[in-house]
Symmetry: none
Subunit: 195 residues, 4 copies
């Protein structure tokens, strides 16, 4: 078990202070106005302590997301058996959060561009991770609630993509869009479907 490791061990206090400071600064200033020096100073920590454990600012942000320091809530679709209701209810909650934390989310998309891991963590936090949203869809697929040939990945991309697109392009976000959007996705845009 012991592999001859000597000397002081990584300070949990410092690590926590860094994540807290980062989250707080991002909320106050937005991602791109946050600097490593600002984090170090806010956290009462040396810059080197940050660089020792993370390769970049965006990596710290990724860990903030992982720890729930930035987005404490979780958004998981339920499984009541009613796919449309479950998805609508989930998307309503997600859209509600996004609309009230518009600038935070906008910031995080910026971080995601720099660092793919941030994107993944963000994806997960909003309940759209492979293990959560996709799982719910796969359950539905298994229950025959999805057409044959429908790609779960495409389905997820359509839903999450709508969310991202609204954030990026400044379109208004209202949680009561949720039902209509899920209806569109599940039942299609055309009036008649070939059986």
């Amino acid at each position: 078990m012991s592999e001859g490791r000597r000397g002081a061990v990584r300070s949990e206090a410092a690590r926590t202070a860094i994540l807290t400071a980062t989250s707080s600064l991002i909320e106050r200033l937005g991602y791109d106005r946050v600097t490593i020096e600002g984090i170090a100073s806010e956290a009462g920590v040396g810059k080197q302590t940050i660089y020792r454990w993370w390769p970049s600012k965006s990596a710290v942000v990724a860990e903030c997301l992982l720890e729930g320091a930035l987005i404490p809530e979780t958004f998981e679709p339920q499984d009541t058996g009613d796919l449309a209701a479950d998805l609508s209810e989930w998307l309503e909650r997600a859209l509600g959060f996004v609309s009230t934390h518009h600038s935070l989310l906008h910031s995080l998309i910026g971080a995601a561009v720099e660092n793919e891991e941030v994107g993944q963590r963000l994806y997960e936090r909003l309940g759209a991770s492979p293990e959560v949203l996709a799982e719910r869809l796969r359950v539905a697929q298994a229950a025959g609630q999805l057409r044959a040939g429908v790609s779960v990945e495409q389905l997820v991309d359509a839903i999450v993509g709508m969310l991202i697109a609204r954030l990026l392009f400044g379109a208004p976000i209202r949680s009561d869009d949720a039902h209509g959007f899920i209806d569109l996705i599940l039942h299609g845009a055309t009036p008649n479907r070939p059986q």
Copy 2:
């Protein structure tokens, strides 16, 4: 009629040189490694000439997009009467472009986070502008090819959002996803639709 404007007039040569240099540098280095100083030097222009006409790097990029300096091609859905075919064909072209210019597009999303106008111009260039994609959909709606109650905006967001989501989250992009995705959107994910 004359509104008393005196003094030398804006140099079109300088303006063009700046847009050209910016486009070239973004393609070579990626948006976030491009600097105002780099643009000025590449364009053979003083920094002040940039700051005189644009407030920020991202604003220059927005104008590059507007002028077609970054994305010369345009992607407009046709109107053959067959909505599914038109959209599939268009999305296929767009996905093809995106997949072969992955890093450019990734860059531009970064610029779009900084500057909403970049997002709008990017949106438009990909054929998803209100005047183009949405127009095609409205035509379809008028022709009864869309269900009542379907929001054209949501439809567009779902399609473009998918594109953005793939770019951001590193998912593979292949132009032969187009048909399946349009089918999903138009006909829905569920096997039976309440009539």
Copy 3:
């Protein structure tokens, strides 16, 4: 006589406005915080109008001195026949002016470093020009009031130099130093002189 000069003639109004603006700005800001653009703007004049007639900022200052725009008073030693009294009275006035316009004079020394002509004009304005102070001394020399072998130039340099040295090195300047200094210069520092 006429050498075929065609076109508009130099605007005296512009010339005067420039000299006035320059003098005013130097008094308010000090020579080195005055800029050509500042002068042009204050004078309501185009930059080119300054560059057309003067090669540099310091040349404008030299003309300001020449016109008495910066130092309206003149300081000329009288000739009552009493050399010591004349010089004391003159130096007292000069030191009085210098002590009450300390920062202006300091500024002008800066201009003199850049442009020798400014030095000459300054020199003249304080009454130490070859045509004035040196002339008074030459009169005294002719009247046998100066020793044989005494160089008038050295005498002038000693007096004016003291003034400059005090300005440059921040020593206090009081007009009642004048009598003692002239006494020193005229009668020497040593108690006994070889006859």
Copy 4:
């Protein structure tokens, strides 16, 4: 004892490189064509390292003078008991130096206008510091070699001032002026002195 100072210590190598580069550039280009960026580049140093320790270009020059980087020689009057001979010999050396380094000294007067400390250091370097030239004069005063009522400060100002005046106003400087000037100062300009 320990006053709790943590962190890396000031780099003597950087400090020396900056002073050396500054001196070299001033000699090559003259004070006003030297820039902070030029110094930094010549010294292989970041600009911030200059701004961290000096508030301005002229402050760096003051330190150059203090370290003897610009004027390595020192000019101190001897004390052989013969005041006139000591001062003549000293002034001859000083004038000799000034005449062979005319443009350097001209430059330094420009720096002295910007920064009083440069003036003081320059003063000192030429042997005219309170602790040196004035001391020699005070010794002479104590030995009864100066008249009662003669101000040592005025004496020093007359001598150094002559030097400055010649530099500023472009008068020729020749080291054989020294004897005559000291004779003038010590024995006065007038042929007869009231006993």
